[in-house]
Point group: none
Chain length 277, copies 2
């Protein structure tokens, strides 16, 4: 990802705020800032934090000092979200009244759609370390969001939950930015398209010179019987066909085949070569 894209992504993510309600441990605020900064988010709102400021926040948020300076402290949750269009409350438990509930991934996709298509402000609310959000607080949200964890074990702590949510926000933004850049849907790309490669891959046409070469070499060293090749040519095609050679690898392999041929017909000899050394 180049620098311009990274700036664009962070700009979009600046419209998504993390809201922490009544946080007790300064370490969790510090970890939240780190998680946010790593993923490109920048706006943290603390609702009536129990301990603030505190040196542990700065220690754990090392390198995210700019985010510390932007922290907003408010007294009520209503104040934290008053200018938001789309509000998510994080909830591990099912509640008295079922609420529209989204997993972290679709919630992030919905958020970035709101930001990028409708210039909306989004908030994700995280609750107290010990008992989360109250029913009244959850009722202020448009949606509840949950992270689908191992139900035998229990829940993420608030710092971990913030990390997963911020990661999904970044992934959703990257998907949108890629889409805009490429003018095509990129959500489900195949593996090859996902790779970053240093050499161009060879074409089908080049491979049509590769297979005769390896077959000729193998028949010269009598590994392949041209009169009765059996499945060998097919196996070679299947093998090198699924590898998608790059140009360098292609020339490397053809160089090896040529050396073997020269060795076999006597135009290259080990001893001659050693004399030169």
């Amino acid at each position: 990802m180049d620098i311009i894209d990274n700036v664009v992504v962070s700009q979009h993510l600046s419209h998504v705020r993390i809201v922490m309600v009544n946080t007790t441990l300064p370490a969790n605020i510090g970890s939240a800032l780190r998680a946010m900064k790593t993923m490109g988010l920048s706006k943290l709102v603390l609702v009536a934090p129990k301990t603030y400021p505190h040196p542990d926040i700065n220690a754990l948020a090392a390198g995210a000092v700019d985010l510390i300076e932007q922290i907003e402290i408010v007294e009520t949750l209503e104040e934290a979200i008053k200018d938001c269009h789309l509000v998510f409350g994080t909830s591990a438990r099912s509640r008295t009244i079922p609420w529209p509930l989204l997993d972290a991934r679709p919630a992030a996709q919905k958020s970035m759609q709101a930001v990028m298509q409708h210039q909306q402000e989004v908030a994700i609310i995280f609750g107290r370390e010990d008992r989360g959000l109250t029913n009244e607080e959850l009722a202020l949200a448009n949606y509840h969001v949950t992270i689908p964890v191992n139900s035998d074990y229990g829940v993420l702590n608030v710092a971990q939950a913030i990390q997963v949510i911020c990661y999904e926000m970044r992934m959703a933004t990257l998907e949108y930015v890629d889409k805009e850049t490429d003018h095509q849907a990129v959500m489900h790309v195949t593996e090859q398209d996902d790779m970053h490669w240093d050499e161009p891959l060879v074409t089908h046409e080049q491979m049509e010179q590769f297979y005769p070469h390896i077959e000729k070499m193998l028949s010269e060293i009598e590994f392949l019987d041209p009169k009765n090749p059996r499945l060998l040519p097919l196996r070679l095609r299947r093998l090198f066909g699924r590898i998608q050679l790059d140009r360098m690898e292609y020339h490397l392999l053809r160089g090896i085949f040529s050396r073997v041929q020269a060795l076999n017909n006597g135009t290259w000899k080990k001893s001659e070569n050693e004399d030169r050394n």
Copy 2:
């Protein structure tokens, strides 16, 4: 998600191991176990940990005692991955020679495809806190995997990286399990992974006999200078690492290498062979 699904998900995830190399801080091992357990993974392999055992591991892994009991300690990375078919190395930096690189999400999808469609064993390798994995260690992987973070800020620490990877592994598994449950069409798999293969794929341990063989053969025919191999061994690993050879192909290629060696040292001669015909 109901209880049966959760058991099925954990069963699939038991084929994905987390490998931590030369970990210094016990807290990171404890956090890794928590992250794994929360997402349903169970197998942690420690390669020559600096501090083990340590009470901090148990403190941070509270509730994940069963995973502590299953921890495997080995001396070398090779030992940790020898029975694996698909190995990912985590890497934040770009390296001398680019390797097939996947983001966490497609890497998790590829992993769970390998587990669920081909009953393979998968390893994700995480490096030291201060300097990650060495180039030699990264060269043991079929793919490198990266988490697309804010490039202005830097990287996740090892515990955070493990959390994101484990989360993506769980999400990929849930997608598959949902799919199976819904009897829906298989999603977005690449052609290669869709194939039903007729031969078992070779393990990492077998490949560790393959690379010395091809290198020895190439140095015997003086295509490779053992005193100055340059990038050739790395290129060969990259090439054959992403191919995932099956057993038949493996023996076929090693047979070709042996023939070339015999031709080169005179134990096999074309003419002798012709006399017999």
